[in-house]
Each structure stands twice: as C-alpha cells, then as structure tokens.
C-alpha cells in the first residue's frame, strides 16, 4: 500500500511545485517507487519544472474520463528510473476532477508505487481539496511571511476536518512543516520571521528549511528539479528533508547567516 503525500500551502507562489518536484525526485533517488501528480487542472506547471513538458500526451482528466489508460498518461522520468509524473490537464476546467475518479487513480497507483506525491494547487477550492483528501501525510510549504503562515494555518484546519482520514475518524494526517525561501541574513537583520517563530505559530514538526537560492530559478529554467543540483544549498536542503522524511536524523543546515570573510565584511559585499 502506497503512502499518499500532499504538498500544500493554501497560498500560491510559495514553492509547492518546486518542492513536489524536488521531494518526489529525492524519494525516487532513495530507491522508492514514486509518482508525482499535478492537481492544478487548467494551470499545470509540474511538467515544466520536471522538464517533461514535451512528453505530455494524456493527462489526469483523460484518465478520469476514460479517454486514456493510466499507464498511457504516466510519464517515466529519464533521469531517475523509479520516478513517474502524472500531468494535469491544461485545457479542461477544474470540475473535470471528481472524487471518485481521483480515488480510482490513487487506488491503481497504490499497487505499483511506494509513494504518491500530490502537488496541490493554491487556494482551498476543489482542486486543493481533492489533492489533500486522500493524504496520509502532508507537507505544508510555508514562506517566513505573514500571509503564507496564515494560509498554512488555514490549510492545516482543512486537513484536520476535510481529509478522508478526518471524515472517517482515522488517525489524523501526519503533518510536516517545510519552510522555503528562508533568508538567514534578513532574519538576522530583523526583517524576516525567524524559523523559531514560524514553528511556534504553526506548531507542527519541522521537516526542513530550504534557503532562498538562485539555484531554484536556474533549476526551473532548465526543467531539472533543484534536488539534482548537488552543489546548491537548496538542493542539499531538499536532500536532507527527504532523508529526514525517510527516518534519518539530520541536523538543519543553512539556517544561520554564512560566515563572511574579513574583506567582504569590511566592504559590505554580498555574501556568496
């Protein structure tokens, strides 16, 4: 039986798709058979971030409406062979997704995969509700910024009341906090919410902290999940987060400002 993981946030633009792509790739790199599903019908982007946009033939809506078989819609990743992508539809409207249809897809995928990663759209409308409905675990992507923290709190409330586990009164969805776009230098200057503050306010276990990094844009430019960029801070932070998710004990990195050399401190240059 596969574990269903939803990557969600409420707010848009905080890094859900970047995190879904990185996380799914990381799980697959660890040898887990992983599929990542884009739930953002009408505004699909996971295909671009994963670099498979030219290989999309069928999508999740085609499968639900019976126009294609699941195996025809799944795209096998060429870099990590245990990884597959199920793209969202770009043309249909959100009503094309149904609870029964998604249930059937997750059921079928459960037989072949270890992890099913659901990349949620922003908001708390149908697409987002369906993305989290079947979740066993949830990764809450949060920026250290007021609107993102508030929306994360809201989506935690939705998880606790509207997920299948909540409705069937089973053990609740396991929640993980993933703080993204963290800038330790700005935190030190008092311009950005501290990691500790975000943790205290949302009060869920911290899975990882992804530092603000130029490598994230570079990764999306080239369609290569940032976790494949071994030298970047963001890539390493995602690797740590995946390892922690799989039970490894790793210290949090990139949460303090980088030590700057004497000359850079003297002349106020930007830290590398």
């Amino acid at each position: 039986m596969a574990q269903v993981i939803v990557v969600t946030s409420g707010k848009g633009g905080v890094g859900k798709t970047t995190s879904s792509a990185a996380f799914a790739t990381g799980l697959a790199q660890s040898g887990k058979k992983t599929v990542v599903i884009d739930f953002d019908v009408g505004l699909r982007n996971l295909d671009l971030i994963m670099g498979v946009e030219r290989r999309v033939v069928f999508d999740i809506v085609n499968v639900i409406s019976g126009e294609a078989r699941l195996n025809q819609a799944l795209i096998r990743d060429k870099r990590v062979d245990t990884l597959s992508i199920l793209p969202a539809s770009q043309t249909r409207d959100k009503d094309a997704l149904t609870k029964e249809g998604v249930a059937q897809i997750i059921d079928e995928l459960s037989q072949d995969f270890d992890y099913i990663v659901c990349d949620s759209p922003a908001g708390i409308e149908k697409g987002a509700l369906l993305a989290l409905y079947f979740a066993d675990q949830a990764i809450i992507v949060t920026n250290p910024e007021v609107s993102s923290v508030r929306d994360s709190d809201r989506i935690l409330g939705v998880l606790q009341s509207k997920s299948r586990r909540a409705e069937e009164k089973k053990e609740p969805v396991k929640e993980h906090l993933l703080v993204t776009r963290y800038a330790p230098e700005r935190v030190e200057r008092g311009e950005m919410l501290k990691l500790e503050d975000v943790r205290e306010i949302l009060a869920i276990p911290l899975l990882g902290v992804i530092p603000e990094s130029e490598s994230v844009l570079k990764a999306s430019n080239t369609g290569s999940p940032v976790i494949l960029d071994d030298v970047s801070n963001a890539g390493q932070a995602y690797k740590d987060a995946v390892a922690r998710f799989l039970g490894e004990d790793r210290p949090h990195r990139f949460i303090d400002p980088e030590k700057r050399g004497f000359l850079s401190r003297l002349f106020g240059g930007r830290a590398a």
Binding site: E145, V146, V149, R150, D153, R154, G157, V187, R189, G190, E191, M192, L193, K194, D197, I201, R265, L266, F267, G268
Partner: protein, 117 residues
C-alpha cells in the same frame, strides 16, 4: 553592515519581524476559535434582541453590533435604538437610546442607554 555604510548615509529602519509575529499570533488566535465553533455573533444578536424585545418594543432593524478584536481584550458593542416615549411632544424627534454591552468594563456608551428610559 560595513563601515562604508557610514558614508553611504544608510539609516537603519526598525526591524519589522517582531510586528509580523505579533500580528500573526493575534489574527490566528481568533481564526482558530472561529474554526472550531460556528460563528456565534448572528445567534447572539438574535437572542439579545429577543430579550430586549421582551421588555421594550424595539425595531429589530435598529440594532447594531460591532466587534473589535485585540490581543489582550476584545470589545463587543451592541447598540439598540429604543423607540420614542408614548406621548410625543410636538416638534421633538424620537430620541435614539443606546445600550452597550462590552465584554470589558462598561464604557461611556452604557450611560447613553439610561437617557432614553
């Protein structure tokens, strides 16, 4: 910050992260309460009107409820317009009576309620 900043004439703005934390804690405390129970204000308004109407003939539309949510104290103000006395004096407009019921110790609004009675 580098010593060169002295010449660049940068002045440090006050750090804003503390304000962010404080504002978040207040707004989320209230949102979490309203998430668990349904919004009680409409029911409270209805029941209060019923109680007042038991003693005074009032127009249910002439009732105002306002809520100000703060960190340490929230204020709930209920304003009921009481009808004019039985024998209207010629030329006198109906005086608007006010009754306030704040959670906090009664303020000046409570006095306004006595004028009308």
């Amino acid at each position: 910050m580098s010593w060169l900043d002295v010449f660049r004439g940068k002045s440090k703005p006050p750090p804003s992260a503390g304000a962010a934390k404080e504002r978040l804690q207040i707004v989320l405390a209230h949102e979490r309460i309203s998430r668990t129970g349904d919004d009680f204000l409409p029911r409270l308004q209805k029941e209060l009107i019923q109680v007042v109407a038991r003693y005074v003939a009032i127009d249910p539309k002439a009732v105002n409820i306002s809520l100000d949510r703060g960190g340490d104290m929230s204020t709930l103000a209920i304003e009921v317009e009481l009808p004019a006395p039985e024998k209207p004096k010629p030329g006198a407009d109906a005086p608007a009576g006010k009754a306030a019921a704040p959670e906090a110790p009664a303020g000046s609004k409570a006095e306004a309620g006595q004028k009308a009675s």
